[in-house]
């Protein structure tokens, strides 16, 4: 869709107003998500005091961050038009490796932190290679590697447990200028995205997701793009697992599966298209916060926690319907 946005690609008949309209429709899903988050925050704020305070921001960001890191990788893969289910296995494997190997030694902890990130990168690159070279469906490839990684996690640590150095656990409590480490991580993530989305790699990923054939004909190497896309997703899954351990303090061989479909949901709620090429991380951040605030609301309303999946499911459908309608009308305008 990039070509449609740039002025030089526009048809001569296109006026400024129409261009503005196209831009608006292109971002409509994201704007719908922002409006939804504001409504949810308003409801939440009316039910509870001090919602619009720094402390609440710190808490919510900490609650959303694991999902957000996982969803960052997922967003990159979705932009390319793929899907990565293996992040669930990678998150499980990351937490159990950290829990069993960190010991109480900073040097060992550093070594294993880097190793876990490397494992994420390598697993992701293997995913990408299989998608590109064997021409297999991303859904199947990553379903299989998810199974393999979860199995490996169970072999490393059959049940929840393990231990972490005391300093590791202090990460979540650390703060600077009143903002917790999680919020600074969020700031870093946003800065990363603002830089990353302009890089040639990101443009190529988006172009491949938009139209694989024309990207290939424009000289994009599909093998390289797939390896890079899934490799990045693996790195972010590894980071999510490391962040998760700073919150829980244990390794769990089964926890990863709780993040697979929510990571897709966060991205899709935020306006990332499952068909590739559309959306961005800012939408995903909004999506992840929507899911987190729904959890808060269920808690504040003191209804059964089982309402949370129902509310998330309904919001997911509403968001997708809104973006599907917007996409249809955008397409009608372009033809």
């Amino acid at each position: 869709m990039i070509a449609f946005r740039s002025p030089e690609g526009m048809d001569a008949r296109t006026t400024g107003a129409e261009e503005w309209r196209t831009r608006f429709e292109d971002r409509a899903p994201f704007l719908v998500a922002c409006a939804l988050l504001m409504v949810l925050m308003a409801v939440y704020g009316s039910l509870r005091k001090n919602v619009f305070a720094l402390e609440e921001l710190n808490l919510d960001t900490a609650a959303a961050m694991t999902l957000l890191l996982a969803a960052t990788g997922q967003t990159i893969v979705l932009l390319r038009g793929g899907i990565d289910l293996s992040i669930g296995g990678m998150i499980s494997l990351g937490t159990v490796l950290a829990a069993t190997h960190f010991g109480n030694n900073p040097a060992r902890a550093t070594f294993w932190t880097l190793s876990i990130v490397m494992i994420g990168l390598i697993v992701g690159m293997i995913n990408g290679l299989m998608v590109a070279v064997l021409k297999l469906q991303p859904f199947l490839v990553t379903l299989a590697t998810w199974s393999i990684l979860s199995g490996a996690a169970l072999l490393v640590l059959p049940t929840d447990g393990g231990s972490f150095p005391a300093g590791w656990m202090r990460f979540g409590g650390a703060s600077w200028l009143g903002l917790s480490s999680s919020v600074w991580l969020l700031v870093a993530l946003v800065l990363f995205w603002l830089w990353f989305r302009k890089t040639p790699l990101a443009v190529a990923i988006r172009a491949t997701g938009s139209n694989e054939r024309s990207a290939y004909l424009s000289g994009v190497s599909l093998v390289f793009i797939n390896v890079a896309t899934y490799g990045l997703s693996g790195i972010f899954a590894a980071l999510a697992s490391l962040y998760l351990t700073t919150q829980t303090g244990t390794g769990s061989p089964t926890i990863g599966k709780d993040y697979i479909l929510p990571s897709v949901a966060a991205a899709v709620i935020g306006g990332v298209s499952l068909f590739g090429g559309r959306g961005g991380l800012l939408g995903t951040i909004v999506g992840a916060f929507i899911i987190t605030v729904i959890g808060n609301l269920v808690f504040v309303l003191s209804v059964s926690s089982y309402w949370q999946p129902i509310a998330s499911g309904v919001i997911l459908l509403v968001a997708v319907l809104a973006s599907s309608i917007a996409e249809k009308s955008a397409r009608r305008n372009l033809v």
Partner: protein, 323 residues
Amino acid sequence: MKDNFGTHRGILVAYLATITLLLFTSLVSTGFLAGAHLRSMALLAAFIGIVALGQTFVIIGGGIDLSVPWVLNGAAVFVTLFAHGHNEPLLWAVPLLLVAGALVGMINGLGIEAAGVPPIIMTLAVNVILQGGILICTGGAPTAAAPTALQFLAVGRVGGIPVVLVIWAVLAVTATILLSKTTFGRYLYALGANATVAKYSGVPTLRTVVLSYTLSGFTAALVGMLLTGYSGQAYLGMGDPYLFTSIAAVAIGGTSIMGGSGHYIGTIAGAFLLTILTALLPALNLSSGALQIVYGIVILVTVSLASEAAPKLLFWRRPLSQN
């Protein structure tokens, strides 16, 4: 012609892999090929095979059904709630829940084809909504025991043949006829191969898609009730493993996850392959972690062998000389 060959190669690979695995297993584990053991494995394969029947139709049509786990679990929970351990209520509860499962499938199909929601999102959302609803209905506690008639359906035998296998055989023949001999089958393949072309060629896309998801809801609900009879009770989370195994059985059976190719005959081999693997690993003293690793590798290997790109990669040809 080429498409036909690709389809058949996938099914052939699945059956060869299943037979090889069965022979290998009988070598490492004595008594594996004994009648009683084979029968108990066939029973487990039937549960996977019946869930995967609906999934096969959905995937051939170019979709995917992630709502299987909680449709299955819902039927299992409600059949025990309705029956309260008695046999008489089953007469209305079983048909009612089969219709309910089919209705959920119909909603999936309508959301996907009429409202344009991607299949992954639609069925995922329906799955979590059902999950929440069922948990609220039961309060998260397990329910009553399965009535004896349900247990007979799941583990009983008629003339030495397990009832479940009879049900499976009837369903398998029906599925084969539907796919190979009816216009619905042709429409489904056309739709999975290229939805746009199918639509402009006059395929009734809405009806076809809705029917395929309806079938999937129906088979998931059926297996939910059979499994309740098999394990003597319904428990929460009993459907979760069937999301992975139903998709895996279809994929191993040579059906492209993109849609438009494959057949239920392949899925049957996939269901047997997964069951043999599950039975093999305890015989080799391997843990559940190893089982998951082997599951993943088997999917990758069978799917790679059936892939269009595989022959080109396996039989390397030198590029023609440049001069």
